[in-house]
């Protein structure tokens, strides 16, 4: 595949995106506009994340791509193939081995380490979009730190459902300055952003915005005094394959029997758990 430029982009494009990333890292939580390029996949299918990945990746990097916890979904596989075909970098499924992890809507279960970079794909980067459709108005609101709109959405949910009902993308306050959409990760993953060891980059290709959370940044989920922030509840439930309990679980309905099962959402984590169980079993049987 030598007819391709390394990492698909020309050097000018990479430079522009890297500059945008630098600015985003310098102002944690601030959405920096950039000239999102046409990609070989459609906008809204991870082009923001892909553009970040392609512009920061080097020959020694090791890449992991996940789509809602799965390493094997079509979207993740196509992105992996594209990056591999244009860079020949190593691809992995193990979180610990990867230097760059591009993810759609999940942060892996295995804690990220310093030196790793998490790239999140973002559909709607503007946390105030639902209350204010005009971009120039939301820019003013951010500049004046006027976030009553973001709080108002949570207040309305409490009025209607008796609790905050954000399924995903629960807004966060970054570095006590900018309110940010963490991308549609479950609330379960919001806490992983706070004081993270890894650099987190967020890219919205369709909306042409890049923003970032540098390592060791204060990230707090929005919550009222009498309605504290709560993550999804999985008490008493465990993964039906590996038995894990302290992870984000998917609910699977068996339509034939009507039974409800729970299983790890992070497939590579689940596989690793299973392998280590097997290994332990094997070792004990030899003894």
């Amino acid at each position: 595949m030598n007819q391709h430029h390394f990492a698909f982009f020309d050097e000018g494009s990479k430079k522009e995106i890297r500059r945008t990333i630098l600015k985003a890292v310098a102002i944690p939580g601030y959405q920096v506009p950039f000239s999102s390029r046409e990609m070989p996949i459609a906008r809204g299918w991870g082009t923001g994340g892909l553009q970040i990945t392609l512009s920061i990746i080097g020959r020694e990097d090791c890449l992991k791509v996940i789509d809602q916890g799965s390493d094997e979904s079509v979207n993740a596989v196509s992105i992996k193939k594209l990056v591999h075909n244009t860079t020949s970098v190593e691809i992995t499924e193990r979180t610990q081995e990867a230097t760059i992890i591009q993810s759609r809507h999940r942060i892996p279960e295995i804690p990220l380490q310093g030196g790793q970079i998490l790239v999140l794909q973002v559909p709607t980067p503007e946390p105030l979009r639902q209350v204010e459709p005009r971009e120039y108005m939301t820019k003013i609101l951010h500049s004046e730190e006027e976030y009553s709109g973001a709080w108002l959405q949570l207040f309305e949910q409490i009025m209607k459902y008796g609790r905050t009902a954000t399924g995903a993308d629960h807004p966060v306050y970054v570095n006590s300055r900018y309110v940010m959409a963490p991308s549609p990760i479950p609330r379960f993953d919001n806490v992983k952003m706070n004081e993270s060891d890894a650099l987190i980059l967020l890219g919205a290709g369709r909306e042409k915005k890049i923003y970032a959370i540098p390592p060791y940044t204060d990230v707090q989920s929005l919550a009222f005094e009498d309605y504290p922030f709560a993550v999804e509840e999985f008490s008493g439930k465990s993964c039906r394959f590996c038995g894990a309990t302290d992870v984000f679980l998917d609910e699977v309905l068996d339509s034939a029997t009507g039974d409800v099962h729970y299983q790890c959402n992070d497939t590579s984590y689940c596989l690793e758990q299973l392998n280590s169980h097997e290994k332990a079993k094997e070792e004990s049987s030899y003894a």
């Binding site: 003013i140 500049s143 004046e144 709080w151 108002l152 409490i158 009025m159 209607k160 009222f224 005094e225």
Partner: protein, 279 residues
């Protein structure tokens, strides 16, 4: 006397357009109504100065295009004034011209010290959020972070403006015009502002609803002692509400005084015409 004022405006000017050599200088300016026939620049507010005292309702009356709404928008920072001073009797901003503060500080004053009721509820309310949410928005902006507290304040206010509580979780787009206006008043009152701006609040409402809204404003003023600036082209509204009245024409204040005085014994020819045209 001046030191007692809760809000004072000095030489406020607002122009739309860059102006030209003939109209730049005030002494050589030859305006047609409020605009320069040479360059088309509109001088919407010219040399406006007045004081607002605690617990007082100040009326501003004038025909369409006289600059009364523009003046109000400048005071509420919806529009940037071209020049002039706005001084609040407030410990945080003592003797400071608040028109020159940063937009964050202006936002702070709006959220904590001002309330505004617009002529059109579309401007003051979020039509797709519940009535309660609309009130909470103002409370959140003024630092409220406790849902139960905000809900109880909201309920008290909605009761005060006669919105049945079983409709508090409905969106104002499903309310009648008069109800929307009353929700707007409740919202404006929620952060207990010392100063309330009312811009043509009863225009477009039918007479019985007008009466109940006016009654409500009067009651609120008597109970809470809030200072208000009421803009209206309707002299009957001004007569009922305002203690003192300014008459504006073509961007200038042409007459001011006690409301009774102005209505019974107008001095300026325009005011005379205005008062005598009252049916």
């Amino acid at each position: 006397m001046h030191n007692d004022a809760i809000l004072s405006v000095k030489n406020l000017e607002k122009q739309f357009g860059p102006g030209c050599s003939t109209c730049h200088n005030e002494s050589t300016r030859k305006l047609e109504k409020n605009y320069c026939p040479q360059c088309g620049t509109v001088y919407a507010c010219r040399n406006i100065s007045f004081n607002l005292f605690p617990g007082e309702i100040l009326g501003i009356v004038g025909e369409s295009g006289s600059g009364k709404s523009t003046l109000m928008q400048c005071l509420y920072f919806d529009e940037a004034a071209t020049s002039g001073e706005l001084i609040l009797n407030n410990q945080e901003f003592q003797e400071e011209n608040v028109l020159e503060l940063s937009s964050q500080q202006k936002r702070y004053i709006r959220n904590y010290h001002f309330g505004m009721v617009y002529q059109n509820p579309l401007k003051g309310l979020k039509m797709d959020f519940s009535a309660m949410g609309n009130i909470a928005e103002k409370l959140i902006a003024a630092g409220g972070r406790n849902v139960a507290e905000m809900e109880s304040i909201g309920k008290t206010l909605l009761e005060k403006v006669h919105i049945p509580l079983f409709r508090m979780k409905e969106e104002p787009k499903r309310f009648s015009g008069g109800m929307q206006q009353r929700v707007q008043i409740a919202k404006a009152l929620s952060n207990n502002p010392p100063i309330l701006f009312l811009d043509e609040v009863t225009t477009g409402l039918d007479l019985s609803v007008q009466a109940s809204v006016l009654d409500l404003i009067k009651t609120i003023q008597r109970e809470l002692g809030i200072s208000m600036i009421v803009v209206s082209h309707d002299l009957a509204v001004i007569r009922m509400l305002a203690d003192r009245t300014l008459v504006m024409l073509n961007g200038e204040i042409i007459e001011e005084g006690l409301t009774d005085q102005i209505l019974e014994d107008p001095q300026n020819p325009y005011t005379q015409q205005l008062v005598y045209s009252l049916l």
